[in-house]
Symmetry: C2
Subunit: 345 residues, 2 copies
DNA sequence: GATAGTCCCGTGAACGTTAACAGTATAATG
DNA sequence: CATTATACTGTTAACGTTCACGGGACTATC
């Protein structure tokens, strides 16, 4: 019972049925003032009767505005991108924008990038949000120039490059807070399990770890660093490596909660008690972190809010541009995270 | 440094520069055979020089095909919808389709529904995937009729209604497997913490729990049922309620992993040992489930695969329709889950 | 009573592409 | 050599809207 009768009712049909011109119908659907109340009613009745929906496509063609926001994102197996997307979607829909999603997971090849760029331009997106995947700086530059000639681009949680506004959570400050908390609690041998090091957020969290240690006059040797990839398994592997290299390790900062979970489990398997022998601290404040045993101390950041803000800023920019107003060069923005102290540290 | 010069290079510019007609350029970009190799080259050079990208919008207008897949989804704070979206995105992009995302989180009002329908129709989507939110059956019917007149609609993980194909994981069978496993291990007083009962998947899992019990000749009294909402907190509350009402409860089936986590933590706080005193089993096989302490026994289902299949089926249908072929009424599809036995049961 | 202003409505052209058809050469066939 | 097929290219008309005009019928103003 799949219906095939694509109902092709157009503005012309409405005009005919209500005995006015096409233009008048157009005025009604865009509810413009200059149409008599009586005719407006008549047209509206015809619209309802015929179940007419104006074609966004035709409209876009002539107005040269799509009302579509291009979102390039990846890593939906992780917590961050998912939350971000939620915020983005929410605000976009509130502003009447649609989302054109382009994922960028598997192959980060040149071709992939080219394809995404072409798609975004072809669909005449009104703006672009580049959410997650890091780019090498030459790719970055090329992509940015390519797209930016057509629509404004914002980068979320990415290394800032010239002329590109970046909106992000202050990962560095968050990590610093976490490690400072460990230091306050008397820990002195504090390791780190990093995220994927190609990602700016991972690097920033590592930098925050380093900041806190050096401010306290503590060393941050290479052997206190284990490289993870955000997964629980890499947290497991990471803590084993760290404990082997640093027998007197008394705390670890895992760059996200999932790795913290993996690390806690492995530590307990190795006979270490958390937090007595080993304090563990995470990053994300995932729902699971509160109910893990022991409950995870972690860094809270509001990514939904970040996504919301990004869309709002971008929308403002696009509107200003469209109305020929002065375009304020958008500033970068850093949201401040906070610490949630629980049992693990 | 936000660029405003929306580069308006069209097919006409390309034609002019390469000294051919517009039509020939069109033939080249759609790489059709009937164009001389030499002219093709010349046109391609012009395209590259001018950085021309054909307007998907104009193309859609004339071909009356958007190549856009409407996805109506919600609940991205949960594991399921996220995985599903991943699969959908992956396959869509492989097939050259774009995704138009419409969230449906907050207000499930009539207005909301109307807005979504209008959007989908206005954008002339080629097909619609209704991912998560349940609808009351009259809403359902109205929505379906409204949209289906324009594009085929598939429902994922929803109560089947007349004429609507549903693709889903077999939640009922999964739950049954879980509870049967508990029974095999000698458990006799098995409670359930349900998901949001408005959702079909939650109801199916509850039905599976009931199936297994009655097949084994065991009772499934109302007081063995606690209603949750997928969150860890509701798992916590759920197990407390169950233990109070059923002092000799020796196992619980939580309808998702997050609730299982909450339940395990609460049980341990109440002095029960998992799995000795109380066996716990979840549903989803989230990454965290493997590293929780104790590691969670749970039901594994491949939602990425489900999303992939859904898109593929829908695409096939749309293509068949477009080519005027016979349209096979798409069958409903159930993916079989499997059990992952770990420590908690 | 002429002039200007206001309110309402319609006409024609455009937006950027593809579909359908109509050529014009050149090569193959009898 | 005439005829027919083949390979390539161009012309015209859509697709469904909105924009920039223009103009008629009233009403207000001097």
């Amino acid at each position: 019972m799949v219906s095939v009768n694509r109902s092709g009712v157009t503005i012309r049909d409405v005009a005919e049925r209500s005995g006015v011109s096409i233009q008048t119908v157009s005025r009604v659907i865009n509810n413009r003032p200059d149409v008599a109340e009586e005719t407006r009613k008549r047209v509206q009745v015809a619209i309802a009767d015929l179940r007419f929906r104006p074609s966004g496509i035709a409209r876009s063609l002539v107005t040269r505005k799509s009302g579509v926001l291009g979102v390039v994102a990846g890593g939906f197996q992780h917590y961050g991108p998912t939350r971000l997307l939620t915020g983005i979607e929410r605000e976009a829909s509130a502003l009447g924008w649609h989302l054109l999603l382009q994922s960028f997971d598997q192959a980060r090849s040149e071709d992939e990038l080219e394809r995404i760029g072409t798609n975004l331009i072809s669909e005449r997106v009104s703006g672009v949000l580049w959410v997650y995947p890091e780019l090498s700086s030459d790719q970055e530059q090329a992509f940015y120039e390519q797209i930016a000639a057509h629509a404004p681009v914002f980068f979320l949680s990415m290394l800032p490059v010239t002329g590109t506004p970046v909106l992000s959570v202050d990962n560095r400050a968050g990590a610093r807070m976490a490690v400072e908390h460990l230091i306050t609690r008397g820990r002195r041998h504090i390791g780190i399990i990093t995220g994927e090091i190609e990602l700016w957020s991972a690097l920033e969290r590592q930098a925050g770890w380093h900041d806190a240690l050096s401010r306290a006059g503590l060393p941050s040797p290479a052997m206190a660093i284990a490289h993870g990839d955000w997964t629980p398994a890499s947290g497991d592997a990471g803590i084993r490596q760290l404990l082997k290299a640093n027998p007197d390790l008394d705390a670890v900062f895992a760059s996200n909660d999932q790795m913290a979970f993996g690390a806690m489990r492995a530590a307990m398997q190795l006979g270490r008690h958390v937090p007595q022998d080993l304090a563990v601290i995470g990053f994300d404040n995932t729902p699971e972190s509160a109910v893990f045993t022991p409950a995870l101390t972690t860094v809270q950041h509001d990514l939904v809010e970040l996504g919301t803000l990004a869309v709002r800023e971008l929308h403002r920019l696009v509107e200003a541009q469209r109305n020929g107003q002065d375009i304020p060069r958008p500033a970068s923005l850093m949201l401040q995270p906070s610490l949630v102290v629980r049992e693990s540290a």
